[in-house]
Protein backbone atom coordinates (compact mmCIF):
# COMPACT_ATOMS: atom_id res chain seq x y z
CA UNK A 1 0.00 0.00 0.00
CA UNK A 2 1.42 3.38 -1.00
CA UNK A 3 0.05 6.68 0.25
CA UNK A 4 1.07 10.29 -0.21
CA UNK A 5 0.75 13.40 2.01
CA UNK A 6 1.79 17.01 2.13
CA UNK A 7 3.41 18.36 5.27
CA UNK A 8 0.15 19.42 6.87
CA UNK A 9 -1.29 15.98 6.31
CA UNK A 10 1.84 14.42 7.74
CA UNK A 11 1.40 16.52 10.87
CA UNK A 12 -2.20 15.34 11.17
CA UNK A 13 -1.06 11.77 10.64
CA UNK A 14 1.57 11.99 13.38
CA UNK A 15 -0.77 13.80 15.76
CA UNK A 16 -3.36 11.10 15.29
CA UNK A 17 -0.80 8.39 15.91
CA UNK A 18 0.29 10.21 19.04
CA UNK A 19 -3.29 9.91 20.34
CA UNK A 20 -3.46 6.18 19.98
CA UNK A 21 0.19 5.31 20.55
CA UNK A 22 3.31 6.80 22.14
CA UNK A 23 5.32 8.35 19.34
CA UNK A 24 9.06 8.86 19.56
CA UNK A 25 11.11 10.61 16.90
CA UNK A 26 14.46 12.37 16.44
CA UNK A 27 14.36 15.66 18.33
CA UNK A 28 16.96 18.35 18.91
CA UNK A 29 18.12 18.87 22.47
CA UNK A 30 20.45 21.44 23.93
CA UNK A 31 23.24 19.69 25.75
CA UNK A 32 25.80 21.95 27.27
CA UNK A 33 27.35 24.00 24.51
CA UNK A 34 26.01 21.89 21.67
CA UNK A 35 22.81 20.60 20.25
CA UNK A 36 22.35 16.90 19.98
CA UNK A 37 19.84 14.94 17.92
CA UNK A 38 18.35 11.90 19.63
CA UNK A 39 15.14 9.88 19.82
CA UNK A 40 12.59 10.85 22.43
CA UNK A 41 8.83 10.83 22.89
CA UNK A 42 7.23 13.86 21.28
CA UNK A 43 4.30 16.08 22.19
CA UNK A 44 4.22 18.16 19.02
CA UNK A 45 4.94 17.29 15.43
CA UNK A 46 7.14 20.39 15.16
CA UNK A 47 9.72 18.86 17.47
CA UNK A 48 10.66 16.28 14.87
CA UNK A 49 13.89 16.84 12.97
CA UNK A 50 14.61 14.47 10.11
CA UNK A 51 17.35 16.12 8.12
CA UNK A 52 20.45 14.74 9.81
CA UNK A 53 21.42 11.34 11.15
CA UNK A 54 20.52 11.29 14.85
CA UNK A 55 23.51 11.19 17.20
CA UNK A 56 22.00 8.29 19.06
CA UNK A 57 20.23 5.31 17.58
CA UNK A 58 16.95 4.09 19.06
CA UNK A 59 18.89 1.26 20.74
CA UNK A 60 17.77 2.38 24.19
CA UNK A 61 14.15 1.67 23.37
CA UNK A 62 15.05 -2.00 23.05
CA UNK A 63 18.03 -2.42 25.32
CA UNK A 64 18.07 0.39 27.89
CA UNK A 65 21.39 1.34 29.39
CA UNK A 66 20.10 0.24 32.77
CA UNK A 67 17.08 -1.89 33.40
CA UNK A 68 15.65 -3.89 36.23
CA UNK A 69 15.17 -7.51 35.23
CA UNK A 70 11.57 -7.73 36.32
CA UNK A 71 9.32 -9.46 33.78
CA UNK A 72 6.17 -7.95 35.30
CA UNK A 73 7.48 -4.40 35.31
CA UNK A 74 8.65 -4.70 31.71
CA UNK A 75 5.27 -6.04 30.65
CA UNK A 76 3.53 -3.17 32.39
CA UNK A 77 5.63 -0.47 30.77
CA UNK A 78 5.35 -2.01 27.31
CA UNK A 79 1.68 -2.88 27.03
CA UNK A 80 0.21 -4.20 23.86
CA UNK A 81 -2.63 -1.71 24.23
CA UNK A 82 -0.32 1.28 24.11
CA UNK A 83 2.49 0.46 21.72
CA UNK A 84 5.39 2.73 21.01
CA UNK A 85 5.95 4.05 17.51
CA UNK A 86 9.45 5.13 16.65
CA UNK A 87 9.17 7.50 13.74
CA UNK A 88 11.92 8.51 11.34
CA UNK A 89 14.33 5.62 11.82
CA UNK A 90 17.00 5.31 9.18
CA UNK A 91 17.83 2.09 7.44
CA UNK A 92 21.06 1.52 9.37
CA UNK A 93 19.28 1.68 12.72
CA UNK A 94 16.49 -0.56 11.45
CA UNK A 95 19.02 -3.11 10.25
CA UNK A 96 20.52 -3.05 13.71
CA UNK A 97 17.31 -4.57 14.99
CA UNK A 98 18.03 -7.63 12.90
CA UNK A 99 21.23 -8.08 14.87
CA UNK A 100 19.39 -7.68 18.17
CA UNK A 101 16.70 -10.11 17.04
CA UNK A 102 19.44 -12.62 16.15
CA UNK A 103 20.88 -12.49 19.64
CA UNK A 104 17.98 -11.76 21.97
CA UNK A 105 15.33 -13.79 20.16
CA UNK A 106 17.65 -16.73 19.54
CA UNK A 107 15.42 -19.65 20.33
CA UNK A 108 17.75 -21.51 22.58
CA UNK A 109 17.25 -18.68 25.08
CA UNK A 110 14.73 -15.95 24.32
CA UNK A 111 15.23 -12.72 26.26
CA UNK A 112 11.74 -11.83 27.53
CA UNK A 113 12.66 -8.20 28.28
CA UNK A 114 13.78 -7.49 24.74
CA UNK A 115 10.94 -9.56 23.33
CA UNK A 116 8.30 -7.52 25.12
CA UNK A 117 9.74 -4.26 23.88
CA UNK A 118 10.26 -5.50 20.37
CA UNK A 119 6.74 -6.91 20.04
CA UNK A 120 5.18 -3.69 21.22
CA UNK A 121 7.10 -1.23 19.09
CA UNK A 122 6.23 -0.14 15.58
CA UNK A 123 8.98 1.23 13.34
CA UNK A 124 8.38 3.92 10.76
CA UNK A 125 11.50 4.20 8.66
CA UNK A 126 12.74 7.27 6.86
CA UNK A 127 14.57 7.22 3.56
CA UNK A 128 17.84 9.07 4.11
CA UNK A 129 17.75 12.50 2.43
CA UNK A 130 21.50 12.54 1.85
CA UNK A 131 24.71 10.74 2.72
CA UNK A 132 26.87 11.84 5.58
CA UNK A 133 30.65 11.65 5.26
CA UNK A 134 30.84 8.88 7.85
CA UNK A 135 28.11 6.70 6.33
CA UNK A 136 29.05 3.43 4.66
CA UNK A 137 25.90 1.33 4.91
CA UNK A 138 25.82 0.93 1.15
CA UNK A 139 29.11 -0.94 1.32
CA UNK A 140 27.61 -3.54 3.66
CA UNK A 141 24.62 -4.44 1.54
CA UNK A 142 22.22 -2.08 3.29
CA UNK A 143 20.19 0.39 1.29
CA UNK A 144 19.81 3.86 2.82
CA UNK A 145 16.60 4.26 0.84
CA UNK A 146 14.45 1.51 2.34
CA UNK A 147 14.48 -1.46 4.66
CA UNK A 148 12.12 -4.43 4.83
CA UNK A 149 12.46 -4.75 8.59
CA UNK A 150 10.44 -1.60 9.24
CA UNK A 151 6.66 -1.58 9.51
CA UNK A 152 6.13 1.57 7.48
CA UNK A 153 8.55 3.56 5.38
CA UNK A 154 8.47 7.30 4.77
CA UNK A 155 10.04 9.00 1.77
CA UNK A 156 10.30 12.71 1.10
CA UNK A 157 10.45 13.87 -2.52
CA UNK A 158 10.30 17.63 -3.07
CA UNK A 159 7.56 18.75 -0.67
CA UNK A 160 5.51 15.56 -0.58
CA UNK A 161 5.79 12.69 1.85
CA UNK A 162 5.18 9.19 0.54
CA UNK A 163 4.52 6.36 2.98
CA UNK A 164 4.62 2.67 2.21
CA UNK A 165 3.39 -0.23 4.30
CA UNK A 166 5.82 -3.11 4.55
CA UNK A 167 3.51 -5.68 6.10
CA UNK A 168 -0.20 -6.34 6.43
CA UNK A 169 -0.47 -5.17 10.03
CA UNK A 170 0.93 -1.75 9.25
CA UNK A 171 -1.54 -1.20 6.41
CA UNK A 172 -4.28 -0.34 8.87
CA UNK A 173 -2.27 2.62 10.10
CA UNK A 174 -2.21 4.34 6.71
CA UNK A 175 -5.34 3.08 5.01
CA UNK A 176 -7.19 6.37 5.43
CA UNK A 177 -4.57 8.44 3.63
CA UNK A 178 -4.67 9.43 -0.03
CA UNK A 179 -3.33 6.85 -2.47
CA UNK A 180 -0.02 7.51 -4.13
CA UNK A 181 0.82 7.00 -7.79
CA UNK A 182 3.07 3.95 -7.94
CA UNK A 183 4.74 4.90 -11.21
CA UNK A 184 5.49 8.44 -10.11
CA UNK A 185 6.90 7.12 -6.86
CA UNK A 186 9.10 4.57 -8.59
CA UNK A 187 10.46 7.28 -10.86
CA UNK A 188 11.26 9.61 -8.00
CA UNK A 189 12.87 6.81 -5.98
CA UNK A 190 15.01 5.78 -8.92
CA UNK A 191 16.07 9.37 -9.40
CA UNK A 192 17.04 9.62 -5.76
CA UNK A 193 19.01 6.38 -5.91
CA UNK A 194 20.86 7.44 -9.02
CA UNK A 195 21.94 10.74 -7.51
CA UNK A 196 22.68 9.59 -4.00
CA UNK A 197 26.35 8.91 -4.29
CA UNK A 198 28.49 6.22 -2.75
CA UNK A 199 30.82 5.95 0.18
CA UNK A 200 34.48 6.80 -0.51
CA UNK A 201 35.45 3.77 1.45
CA UNK A 202 35.03 0.58 -0.53
CA UNK A 203 34.37 -2.68 1.26
CA UNK A 204 35.37 -5.61 -0.87
CA UNK A 205 35.71 -8.48 1.55
CA UNK A 206 33.63 -11.59 1.51
CA UNK A 207 32.03 -12.10 4.87
CA UNK A 208 32.30 -13.81 7.28
CA UNK A 209 35.95 -12.79 7.27
CA UNK A 210 38.11 -15.93 7.55
CA UNK A 211 38.48 -16.36 11.28
CA UNK A 212 41.85 -18.02 11.64
CA UNK A 213 43.72 -15.91 9.10
CA UNK A 214 42.37 -12.61 10.34
CA UNK A 215 42.73 -13.54 14.01
CA UNK A 216 46.41 -14.31 13.63
CA UNK A 217 47.13 -11.27 11.44
CA UNK A 218 49.80 -8.94 12.85
CA UNK A 219 47.70 -5.86 12.14
CA UNK A 220 45.72 -5.40 15.32
CA UNK A 221 48.30 -3.61 17.47
CA UNK A 222 48.76 -0.99 14.77
CA UNK A 223 45.04 -0.55 14.27
CA UNK A 224 44.46 -0.05 17.99
CA UNK A 225 47.54 2.02 18.64
CA UNK A 226 45.58 5.23 19.19
CA UNK A 227 42.60 3.60 20.85
CA UNK A 228 42.02 5.06 24.30
CA UNK A 229 40.08 2.08 25.57
CA UNK A 230 36.93 4.03 26.45
CA UNK A 231 33.48 2.72 25.60
CA UNK A 232 32.18 5.45 23.32
CA UNK A 233 32.15 3.43 20.07
CA UNK A 234 30.31 0.54 21.66
CA UNK A 235 27.81 2.70 23.50
CA UNK A 236 26.82 4.69 20.39
CA UNK A 237 26.91 1.67 18.10
CA UNK A 238 23.36 0.60 17.21
CA UNK A 239 24.32 -3.08 17.11
CA UNK A 240 26.53 -3.40 20.18
CA UNK A 241 24.72 -5.25 22.95
CA UNK A 242 27.27 -6.58 25.44
CA UNK A 243 25.98 -6.27 28.97
CA UNK A 244 26.69 -6.98 32.60
CA UNK A 245 24.61 -7.35 35.73
CA UNK A 246 24.76 -5.35 38.91
CA UNK A 247 22.98 -4.92 42.20
CA UNK A 248 22.02 -1.53 43.54
CA UNK A 249 23.14 -1.22 47.12
CA UNK A 250 20.18 1.05 47.88
CA UNK A 251 17.68 -1.45 46.55
CA UNK A 252 16.58 -3.45 49.57
CA UNK A 253 14.77 -5.98 47.43
CA UNK A 254 18.08 -6.87 45.76
CA UNK A 255 16.59 -6.78 42.31
CA UNK A 256 18.89 -7.71 39.49
CA UNK A 257 19.87 -4.94 37.07
CA UNK A 258 21.37 -5.18 33.61
CA UNK A 259 23.58 -2.46 32.17
CA UNK A 260 25.68 -1.95 29.06
CA UNK A 261 29.23 -3.17 29.09
CA UNK A 262 31.96 -2.77 26.50
CA UNK A 263 34.52 -5.16 25.08
CA UNK A 264 36.81 -2.13 24.79
CA UNK A 265 37.19 -1.87 28.56
CA UNK A 266 40.38 -3.46 29.83
CA UNK A 267 38.58 -5.45 32.51
CA UNK A 268 35.88 -6.87 30.27
CA UNK A 269 37.31 -10.39 30.13
CA UNK A 270 39.49 -10.37 33.23
CA UNK A 271 39.12 -13.49 35.40
CA UNK A 272 39.02 -13.30 39.18
CA UNK A 273 42.35 -15.11 39.16
CA UNK A 274 43.87 -12.11 37.38
CA UNK A 275 44.24 -13.87 34.03
CA UNK A 276 42.99 -11.75 31.15
CA UNK A 277 42.64 -13.42 27.72
CA UNK A 278 42.49 -9.98 26.10
CA UNK A 279 45.20 -7.99 27.79
CA UNK A 280 46.16 -5.58 25.04
CA UNK A 281 44.03 -3.00 23.27
CA UNK A 282 44.98 -4.67 19.99
CA UNK A 283 43.38 -7.92 21.13
CA UNK A 284 40.28 -6.06 22.24
CA UNK A 285 40.02 -4.22 18.94
CA UNK A 286 40.39 -7.49 17.14
CA UNK A 287 37.45 -8.83 19.13
CA UNK A 288 35.31 -5.84 18.15
CA UNK A 289 36.00 -6.05 14.46
CA UNK A 290 36.01 -9.83 14.23
CA UNK A 291 32.76 -10.04 16.15
CA UNK A 292 31.07 -7.67 13.72
CA UNK A 293 32.50 -9.09 10.52
CA UNK A 294 33.31 -12.70 11.33
CA UNK A 295 31.84 -14.21 14.49
CA UNK A 296 28.31 -12.84 14.34
CA UNK A 297 27.89 -13.66 10.65
CA UNK A 298 29.22 -17.17 11.31
CA UNK A 299 26.67 -17.70 14.05
CA UNK A 300 23.69 -15.87 12.60
CA UNK A 301 24.26 -15.11 8.94
CA UNK A 302 24.40 -11.32 8.73
CA UNK A 303 26.99 -8.73 9.71
CA UNK A 304 26.81 -7.06 13.06
CA UNK A 305 27.90 -3.66 11.67
CA UNK A 306 25.44 -1.49 9.78
CA UNK A 307 27.79 1.18 8.48
CA UNK A 308 26.14 4.05 10.36
CA UNK A 309 29.48 5.71 11.10
CA UNK A 310 28.62 6.85 14.61
CA UNK A 311 31.72 5.20 16.07
CA UNK A 312 33.84 7.34 13.77
CA UNK A 313 31.93 10.51 14.59
CA UNK A 314 31.97 10.03 18.33
CA UNK A 315 35.42 8.54 18.87
CA UNK A 316 37.54 11.03 20.84
CA UNK A 317 40.53 10.25 18.61
CA UNK A 318 38.57 9.47 15.44
CA UNK A 319 39.74 5.87 15.18
CA UNK A 320 38.07 4.92 11.94
CA UNK A 321 36.64 1.43 11.58
CA UNK A 322 36.84 1.90 7.84
CA UNK A 323 40.62 2.25 8.04
CA UNK A 324 40.74 -0.88 10.17
CA UNK A 325 38.68 -2.77 7.61
CA UNK A 326 40.96 -1.53 4.87
CA UNK A 327 44.02 -2.78 6.76
CA UNK A 328 42.33 -6.13 7.26
CA UNK A 329 41.45 -6.37 3.61
CA UNK A 330 44.96 -5.48 2.51
CA UNK A 331 46.48 -8.07 4.79
CA UNK A 332 44.10 -10.79 3.63
CA UNK A 333 44.72 -9.88 0.01
CA UNK A 334 48.49 -10.08 0.48
CA UNK A 335 48.14 -13.42 2.15
CA UNK A 336 46.56 -14.72 -0.99
CA UNK A 337 43.63 -17.00 -1.14
CA UNK A 338 41.26 -14.44 0.32
CA UNK A 339 38.40 -12.88 -0.27
CA UNK A 340 38.09 -10.00 -2.65
CA UNK A 341 34.80 -9.81 -4.42
CA UNK A 342 33.99 -7.44 -7.22
Amino acid sequence: MLKVMNEKELKQFIDKLNNDYKVAAPVKKQQGKQEILEYDYIEEFEEIHLEEQPDKSPKEFFLPQNEVLDPEAIAKSNPEENKTIIFGVRSCDIEALRVFDDVFLDDTYVDPYYEKRRDNTIIIGYSCPHREPTCFCDQLGISPHENKLADLYLYKFDDKYWIKSINEDSEKLIKDLADGDEDLFDEKLKNKKDNFGESDFKFNMETPIPEEKAFNAPIWDDIAEKCLGCGVCTYYCPTCFCFNFFFDEDDKENQKYRSWDSCMFSLFTKHASGHNPRETQGQRWRQRLMHKFSYHPQNYGGLSCVGCGRCVKKCPVTLDIREALKSTEEYLKDEGGAVVED
Binding site: Q31, G32, K33, Q34, I36, Q65, N66, P133, T134, D200, F201, D222, E225, K226, L228, G229, C230, G231, V232, Y235, Y236, N244, F246, F247, D248, E249, D250, Y257, S259, W260, D261, S262, F265, S266, L267, V312, K314, P316, V317, T318, L319, D320, R322, E323, K326
Partner: protein, 284 residues
Protein backbone atom coordinates in the same frame (compact mmCIF):
# COMPACT_ATOMS: atom_id res chain seq x y z
CA UNK B 1 46.14 31.46 10.02
CA UNK B 2 46.12 28.71 7.48
CA UNK B 3 49.45 29.79 6.10
CA UNK B 4 50.85 29.91 9.63
CA UNK B 5 49.76 26.36 10.34
CA UNK B 6 51.05 25.21 6.97
CA UNK B 7 54.44 26.62 7.90
CA UNK B 8 54.41 24.79 11.22
CA UNK B 9 53.35 21.59 9.46
CA UNK B 10 56.26 21.83 7.04
CA UNK B 11 58.74 22.39 9.85
CA UNK B 12 57.38 19.43 11.80
CA UNK B 13 57.67 17.18 8.78
CA UNK B 14 61.28 18.24 8.19
CA UNK B 15 62.28 17.62 11.79
CA UNK B 16 60.47 14.29 11.78
CA UNK B 17 62.18 13.19 8.61
CA UNK B 18 65.59 14.06 10.03
CA UNK B 19 64.93 12.21 13.27
CA UNK B 20 63.87 9.04 11.53
CA UNK B 21 66.55 9.28 8.89
CA UNK B 22 69.27 9.60 11.51
CA UNK B 23 67.76 6.81 13.55
CA UNK B 24 67.40 9.07 16.57
CA UNK B 25 63.94 7.72 17.29
CA UNK B 26 61.96 4.58 16.46
CA UNK B 27 58.59 6.26 16.26
CA UNK B 28 57.02 9.67 15.94
CA UNK B 29 53.70 10.39 17.62
CA UNK B 30 51.92 13.26 15.95
CA UNK B 31 48.73 14.64 14.50
CA UNK B 32 47.54 13.56 11.11
CA UNK B 33 44.43 13.41 9.01
CA UNK B 34 42.10 10.47 8.82
CA UNK B 35 41.95 8.66 5.53
CA UNK B 36 38.19 8.95 5.15
CA UNK B 37 37.47 11.98 7.34
CA UNK B 38 38.79 15.49 7.74
CA UNK B 39 39.18 15.11 11.49
CA UNK B 40 42.65 15.29 12.95
CA UNK B 41 43.66 12.02 14.51
CA UNK B 42 46.82 10.68 16.21
CA UNK B 43 49.31 9.10 13.85
CA UNK B 44 52.29 6.92 14.62
CA UNK B 45 55.05 7.19 12.04
CA UNK B 46 57.89 4.69 11.79
CA UNK B 47 58.98 5.20 8.17
CA UNK B 48 60.54 8.45 7.10
CA UNK B 49 58.59 8.23 3.82
CA UNK B 50 55.38 8.73 5.75
CA UNK B 51 56.26 11.97 7.53
CA UNK B 52 54.02 13.83 5.10
CA UNK B 53 51.12 12.51 7.15
CA UNK B 54 52.10 14.79 10.05
CA UNK B 55 50.44 18.14 10.50
CA UNK B 56 49.34 20.72 13.02
CA UNK B 57 46.32 23.00 12.97
CA UNK B 58 43.68 24.51 15.20
CA UNK B 59 41.77 21.24 14.83
CA UNK B 60 44.47 19.16 16.54
CA UNK B 61 42.05 17.97 19.21
CA UNK B 62 43.55 14.68 20.41
CA UNK B 63 45.86 14.75 23.39
CA UNK B 64 48.97 12.88 22.42
CA UNK B 65 51.18 12.94 25.49
CA UNK B 66 49.42 10.04 27.14
CA UNK B 67 50.51 7.67 24.39
CA UNK B 68 54.07 8.10 25.59
CA UNK B 69 53.18 5.88 28.53
CA UNK B 70 52.81 3.00 26.07
CA UNK B 71 56.38 3.41 24.86
CA UNK B 72 58.26 3.85 28.09
CA UNK B 73 61.34 1.98 26.96
CA UNK B 74 61.44 3.10 23.35
CA UNK B 75 62.92 6.17 21.74
CA UNK B 76 60.01 8.30 20.55
CA UNK B 77 59.48 11.81 19.29
CA UNK B 78 56.25 13.65 19.84
CA UNK B 79 54.71 16.84 18.51
CA UNK B 80 53.39 18.45 21.63
CA UNK B 81 51.16 21.40 22.32
CA UNK B 82 52.29 23.43 25.33
CA UNK B 83 49.74 21.72 27.59
CA UNK B 84 51.05 18.38 26.43
CA UNK B 85 54.57 19.42 27.38
CA UNK B 86 53.23 20.05 30.87
CA UNK B 87 51.86 16.53 30.94
CA UNK B 88 55.27 15.27 29.88
CA UNK B 89 56.84 17.16 32.79
CA UNK B 90 54.34 15.51 35.11
CA UNK B 91 55.32 12.10 33.80
CA UNK B 92 59.00 12.89 34.21
CA UNK B 93 58.51 14.20 37.72
CA UNK B 94 56.63 11.01 38.60
CA UNK B 95 59.41 8.86 37.07
CA UNK B 96 57.19 7.35 34.41
CA UNK B 97 59.44 8.23 31.49
CA UNK B 98 63.14 8.57 30.81
CA UNK B 99 64.08 11.99 29.48
CA UNK B 100 66.77 10.58 27.22
CA UNK B 101 64.19 8.48 25.37
CA UNK B 102 62.15 11.50 24.39
CA UNK B 103 62.42 14.07 21.68
CA UNK B 104 59.81 16.75 22.11
CA UNK B 105 58.79 18.96 19.20
CA UNK B 106 56.98 21.77 20.98
CA UNK B 107 54.43 24.06 19.38
CA UNK B 108 55.20 27.69 20.25
CA UNK B 109 52.52 30.27 20.79
CA UNK B 110 49.57 27.89 20.73
CA UNK B 111 46.49 29.88 19.81
CA UNK B 112 44.15 27.23 21.06
CA UNK B 113 42.20 24.30 19.71
CA UNK B 114 38.81 24.78 18.15
CA UNK B 115 35.99 23.97 20.53
CA UNK B 116 38.18 23.52 23.61
CA UNK B 117 37.09 25.92 26.32
CA UNK B 118 40.22 25.17 28.34
CA UNK B 119 42.20 27.03 25.70
CA UNK B 120 40.29 30.19 26.62
CA UNK B 121 41.73 29.99 30.12
CA UNK B 122 45.17 28.87 29.04
CA UNK B 123 48.10 30.56 30.73
CA UNK B 124 50.91 28.45 29.29
CA UNK B 125 51.04 28.93 25.55
CA UNK B 126 54.70 28.10 24.97
CA UNK B 127 56.28 24.71 25.61
CA UNK B 128 57.78 24.29 29.07
CA UNK B 129 60.05 21.49 27.90
CA UNK B 130 61.20 20.73 24.39
CA UNK B 131 64.04 19.66 22.14
CA UNK B 132 62.77 21.48 19.07
CA UNK B 133 60.17 24.20 18.74
CA UNK B 134 58.09 25.33 15.79
CA UNK B 135 55.94 28.41 15.40
CA UNK B 136 56.26 31.82 17.00
CA UNK B 137 56.29 32.26 20.74
CA UNK B 138 53.73 34.42 22.46
CA UNK B 139 54.94 36.91 25.02
CA UNK B 140 53.68 36.87 28.61
CA UNK B 141 51.60 39.98 27.96
CA UNK B 142 50.01 38.42 24.90
CA UNK B 143 49.22 35.26 26.84
CA UNK B 144 47.65 37.20 29.73
CA UNK B 145 45.56 39.23 27.36
CA UNK B 146 44.08 36.07 25.86
CA UNK B 147 42.85 34.64 29.16
CA UNK B 148 39.12 34.72 29.82
CA UNK B 149 37.30 33.32 32.83
CA UNK B 150 35.15 30.58 31.38
CA UNK B 151 33.60 29.74 34.70
CA UNK B 152 32.68 33.22 35.85
CA UNK B 153 28.95 32.42 35.81
CA UNK B 154 29.50 29.17 37.62
CA UNK B 155 31.62 30.81 40.29
CA UNK B 156 28.91 33.39 40.90
CA UNK B 157 26.21 30.83 41.51
CA UNK B 158 25.20 29.87 45.00
CA UNK B 159 25.74 26.24 46.06
CA UNK B 160 22.15 25.18 45.31
CA UNK B 161 22.32 26.60 41.80
CA UNK B 162 25.68 24.98 41.21
CA UNK B 163 24.36 21.64 42.46
CA UNK B 164 21.48 21.91 40.03
CA UNK B 165 23.86 22.77 37.22
CA UNK B 166 26.05 19.75 37.87
CA UNK B 167 23.10 17.44 38.31
CA UNK B 168 21.82 18.54 34.91
CA UNK B 169 25.17 17.94 33.35
CA UNK B 170 25.97 14.58 34.89
CA UNK B 171 22.51 13.19 34.33
CA UNK B 172 23.39 12.40 30.76
CA UNK B 173 26.72 10.76 31.58
CA UNK B 174 26.81 7.30 30.02
CA UNK B 175 29.86 6.12 31.98
CA UNK B 176 31.78 5.62 28.77
CA UNK B 177 34.95 6.74 30.55
CA UNK B 178 36.13 8.72 27.55
CA UNK B 179 37.06 11.56 29.93
CA UNK B 180 39.13 9.27 32.10
CA UNK B 181 40.87 7.58 29.19
CA UNK B 182 41.63 10.84 27.42
CA UNK B 183 42.92 12.58 30.56
CA UNK B 184 46.72 12.71 30.52
CA UNK B 185 47.04 12.39 34.29
CA UNK B 186 44.55 9.56 34.68
CA UNK B 187 46.69 6.48 34.29
CA UNK B 188 46.10 4.30 37.33
CA UNK B 189 46.39 0.64 36.42
CA UNK B 190 43.21 -0.06 38.29
CA UNK B 191 40.82 2.86 38.50
CA UNK B 192 38.74 3.07 41.65
CA UNK B 193 35.59 2.67 39.57
CA UNK B 194 36.78 -0.70 38.31
CA UNK B 195 37.85 -1.89 41.70
CA UNK B 196 35.90 -4.90 42.79
CA UNK B 197 37.58 -5.63 46.10
CA UNK B 198 36.89 -3.18 47.72
CA UNK B 199 33.82 -2.29 45.71
CA UNK B 200 33.24 1.47 45.58
CA UNK B 201 30.55 2.19 43.05
CA UNK B 202 28.24 0.66 40.51
CA UNK B 203 28.61 0.79 36.78
CA UNK B 204 25.07 2.07 36.43
CA UNK B 205 24.16 5.48 35.01
CA UNK B 206 22.01 6.47 37.95
CA UNK B 207 22.86 10.00 39.00
CA UNK B 208 24.20 9.02 42.38
CA UNK B 209 26.79 6.79 40.73
CA UNK B 210 27.84 9.11 37.92
CA UNK B 211 28.06 12.00 40.36
CA UNK B 212 30.27 9.90 42.62
CA UNK B 213 32.50 9.00 39.72
CA UNK B 214 33.02 12.57 38.57
CA UNK B 215 33.44 14.01 42.05
CA UNK B 216 35.93 11.34 43.07
CA UNK B 217 37.85 11.69 39.84
CA UNK B 218 38.22 15.41 40.26
CA UNK B 219 39.42 14.91 43.85
CA UNK B 220 42.07 12.60 42.42
CA UNK B 221 42.93 15.34 39.93
CA UNK B 222 43.71 17.85 42.64
CA UNK B 223 47.23 19.12 42.18
CA UNK B 224 47.65 17.09 38.99
CA UNK B 225 45.11 18.43 36.51
CA UNK B 226 46.84 20.67 33.98
CA UNK B 227 43.55 22.12 32.69
CA UNK B 228 44.10 20.89 29.15
CA UNK B 229 40.45 20.19 28.31
CA UNK B 230 41.09 16.70 26.92
CA UNK B 231 38.23 15.44 29.09
CA UNK B 232 35.65 17.84 27.77
CA UNK B 233 36.72 17.33 24.16
CA UNK B 234 36.46 13.58 24.56
CA UNK B 235 33.00 13.57 26.12
CA UNK B 236 30.47 12.44 23.51
CA UNK B 237 27.61 13.97 25.45
CA UNK B 238 29.13 17.46 25.74
CA UNK B 239 29.09 17.36 29.49
CA UNK B 240 30.98 20.10 31.30
CA UNK B 241 33.40 17.57 32.73
CA UNK B 242 36.20 20.03 33.08
CA UNK B 243 34.38 22.28 35.53
CA UNK B 244 35.29 20.33 38.65
CA UNK B 245 38.90 19.59 37.77
CA UNK B 246 39.43 23.17 36.58
CA UNK B 247 38.33 24.29 40.02
CA UNK B 248 41.00 22.03 41.47
CA UNK B 249 43.49 23.63 39.14
CA UNK B 250 42.53 27.13 40.24
CA UNK B 251 42.52 26.10 43.88
CA UNK B 252 46.05 24.77 43.51
CA UNK B 253 47.14 28.12 42.15
CA UNK B 254 45.29 30.29 44.64
CA UNK B 255 45.87 28.36 47.82
CA UNK B 256 49.24 26.76 47.25
CA UNK B 257 50.71 28.93 44.47
CA UNK B 258 51.21 25.65 42.59
CA UNK B 259 50.95 24.87 38.87
CA UNK B 260 51.52 21.23 37.91
CA UNK B 261 53.68 20.25 34.99
CA UNK B 262 55.94 23.31 34.82
CA UNK B 263 59.15 21.50 35.62
CA UNK B 264 60.34 17.91 35.26
CA UNK B 265 61.76 17.94 38.78
CA UNK B 266 58.71 19.49 40.31
CA UNK B 267 57.35 18.04 43.53
CA UNK B 268 53.74 16.93 43.56
CA UNK B 269 51.28 19.06 45.45
CA UNK B 270 49.62 16.50 47.68
CA UNK B 271 51.93 13.49 47.61
CA UNK B 272 54.98 15.02 49.19
CA UNK B 273 55.62 15.52 52.88
CA UNK B 274 58.00 18.08 54.32
CA UNK B 275 58.74 18.29 58.05
CA UNK B 276 58.61 22.05 57.71
CA UNK B 277 54.97 22.00 56.52
CA UNK B 278 53.02 24.63 58.37
CA UNK B 279 50.13 22.40 59.29
CA UNK B 280 51.10 19.28 61.16
CA UNK B 281 47.94 17.57 59.92
CA UNK B 282 47.30 14.20 61.41
CA UNK B 283 50.67 14.04 63.11
CA UNK B 284 49.46 16.41 65.84
Amino acid sequence: MEAYYKEITDKIQKIAYKLLDEGKVDKIIGFGKGEFTDEVTPVFIVNKENVDKLLFSEKATPFLAKYLLNYKDEKVAITAKPCETRAINSYLSENLLQRENLIIIGINGCRGIEGNTACKECDVRNPVISDYTVGEELSDEEVSSMITNVYEDLENMNPEERNEYFQNEFERCTRCYACREACPVCYCEECFTDSNQPFWLDSSTQLKDTFTFHLMRSIHMAGRCINCGACEMACPENIDVRALSAKMYRAGEEIFDYKPGMDPEQKTLLAEYDVNDQEKGFLD
